[in-house]
Symmetry: C2
Subunit: 390 residues, 2 copies
């Protein structure tokens, strides 16, 4: 294990009806809140009304900003920052999935500083202060409910970039699995694919002696796969929804990366796909990650052999270890297909290869020339992975 710090102070309030506690929680931080959300589903389901009522009961003045789309846009972030500044709002409450939470985090980073918030994503500056953030999660997967990161899309420059800051971890996150009953099968599956990818970005590491955390990674991957089918096919199965919701949180709260160098190459490679084609991030990862594995596993085959054996119960073939890896990959692909996730760029609707060169170029450029740590990939490697994923 490498030297490392684990610090995750997000208070997670888990279970049925927990959204009714939101007023009490927000009141600990202030009396004015920006209520930030996406489209109409939180309104239609009555969730937003319950939230408003709880906030009102705690004498909190509510300012609202809806309209967050998946792959959340910088323009709306600017709008939120302006609202918070002009009204002296000191708390941002996100009600929604990862996109809403990421947008809320960016607003919280931008509001109390005089910088252009986009400079943080360009890695030119870091936020000196950040407003406290709370979340009520409705779509598990992104893990933003207790992570320190956010991803925002700048439509003008066609860039989709990430910013991480320890101060951006929500102070509380409310996770009620019932609120996920209405998540459609496709988005449920995309969330699961995303969560598995969050674990694999940490699992495939060059760091040696990572036994306990490895085993924890494997257990959460298995748990996600074990409960995926029920959560998708029986959308009101509370138990399966609860398992998935909790596993998605653990997958990205930092614990599973403790003491090791993480990779994050596949995420960067996927971000280019969803920036250009506006596909769901988890679906994009479902096409990219298998290709990444195929491309890089020879760098350190034992990582992938262990993964195949412990996550997918593949028998070790002493005479042909590569077979073991390929069987693991086959089962991973089989799982993704079983939950109707795309496993190629064509499945995602990319019908023209000519765009791949530009994507690879942009991906390398946006990330300072290379992506990844387990495998350091330059533009030509990224292009090869797009090719494999096509």
């Amino acid at each position: 294990m490498d030297n490392d710090i684990f610090y995750n102070p997000t208070k997670v309030i888990f279970g049925r009806n927990t959204e009714l506690l939101v007023g009490d929680e927000v009141a600990k931080y202030g009396d004015k809140v920006l209520l930030h959300y996406g489209g109409g589903s939180a309104e239609r389901s009555g969730l937003l009304d319950r939230v408003r009522k709880s906030l009102k009961a705690s004498d909190i003045t509510v300012y609202e900003l809806g309209g967050v789309k998946s792959n959340p846009r910088l323009e709306l972030v600017y709008e939120g920052i302006a609202m918070c500044r002009s009204n002296g709002i000191g708390f941002v409450l996100a009600v929604g999935g990862g996109s809403v939470i990421d947008s809320a985090k960016a607003i919280a980073c931008g509001t109390p500083n005089s910088d252009d918030v986009w400079d943080y994503f360009l890695e030119e500056k870091t936020a000196k202060a950040i407003l406290p953030i709370g979340t009520i999660l409705t779509i598990p997967g992104a893990g933003s409910e207790s992570s320190d990161g956010m991803v925002i899309t700048n439509e003008k420059t066609r860039q989709k970039l990430a910013y991480s800051d320890l101060g951006a971890r929500p102070v509380f996150s409310i996770l009620n699995p019932e609120l996920t009953f209405s998540v459609p099968a496709y988005h449920t599956a995309a969330g699961i694919s995303d969560a598995i990818a969050h674990i694999m970005e940490r699992y495939f590491t060059k760091t040696e002696h990572t036994d306990v955390v490895d085993r924890m990674c494997e257990s959460v991957m298995r748990g996600l796969m074990r409960n995926a089918k029920a959560a998708i096919t029986q959308p009101e199965d509370y138990n399966a929804r609860a398992e998935i919701m909790w596993a998605c949180k653990v997958a990205h709260d930092g614990l599973l990366g403790m003491g090791r160098e993480e990779d994050w190459g596949s995420h960067a490679i996927e971000h280019e796909v969803s920036a250009v084609f506006d596909v769901s991030h988890g679906a994009g990862l479902s096409a990219i990650f298998p290709a990444w594995i195929k491309y890089v596993y020879k760098n350190k085959p034992q990582r992938f052999i262990q993964w195949a054996m412990r996550v997918f119960d593949v028998e070790y073939d002493v005479t042909d270890p590569d077979w073991t890896v390929m069987q693991g990959l086959k089962r991973y692909l089989g799982f993704l297909k079983s939950i109707n996730m795309p496993t190629s760029l064509r499945d995602l609707g990319v019908t023209d290869k000519s765009v791949l060169d530009e994507m690879a170029h942009k991906c390398a450029e946006d990330n300072g020339g290379t992506v990844g740590h387990f495998a350091v990939l330059k533009e030509s490697d990224i292009r090869n992975i797009y090719e494999l994923a096509y």
Copy 2:
């Protein structure tokens, strides 16, 4: 999963030389510290000098209170409280193992309140304020470095009681595996036994649908057993020491009990043993827990079948599920013996059965009549478990 809250804001600073950061960390909370420790080993090793130096470099005034013994005593807690009050000390820094940290927590609970701190342990009152606590851990196992609990022995009443308070989680804990190189084999093994017990107290639950957390429990138990031998027989094996240190933290930071009813009967039953015989808590658990399993597994055999299969790779016997459990138990006992832990009260030096009646009586009495939740055990059950463990 049951409704539950996960909130663990302890910042864990992990790795080589991390004790040198202690001054910076304490300075965030104040300029006067009670440096609390045990016997001479932290002095002899030079650790205390490094700590003093780091605190001094951060302009922190240091007051010292050493002398904590295993099964930490209430008398010393009172002394610490008096020191903190008379000197206006606002931070308690524990340098040592679980006993030192528990003692520090009790001092931190007692200082800012006018109550007798023992009333918290008698469940008559709760602390209204608690001083911030930091730790530099030297003996892994108890998990006190990021738990909310503490156990203190009142020699006058011969009671060993626990108190838990969310405010008692250390604000930071420094975990440098090198500091554990000097932990003798017996105490290393006792710590590992304790950590496995912390997981099993959570794992054996009546709560249904606990899949993901179950798997995480299993992975940490396996990790502890996988690395135990190396940590014990090659005391300067950094990698094994690091795995054990991290696993012991995870075992008791609350994560592995998320969304479930926990048991804690074996701990209460063991506390009576170490209160009377002053044996190491982890060694006591090594004698008590197997007896507890034997006594209660029929309440819900599938929990124990799963444990046997997933933690100990026992093959499931469809025609004789009990065999599966007994094989698991046999392998658990085999593991404990392999690390030279006692597996009976006689191994612990209890040579006279006549004391068992009184211990069972006291155990029930101290815990309001019964112990445990998975299995609710009254005095006669506790007596039976002592008998099985004899």
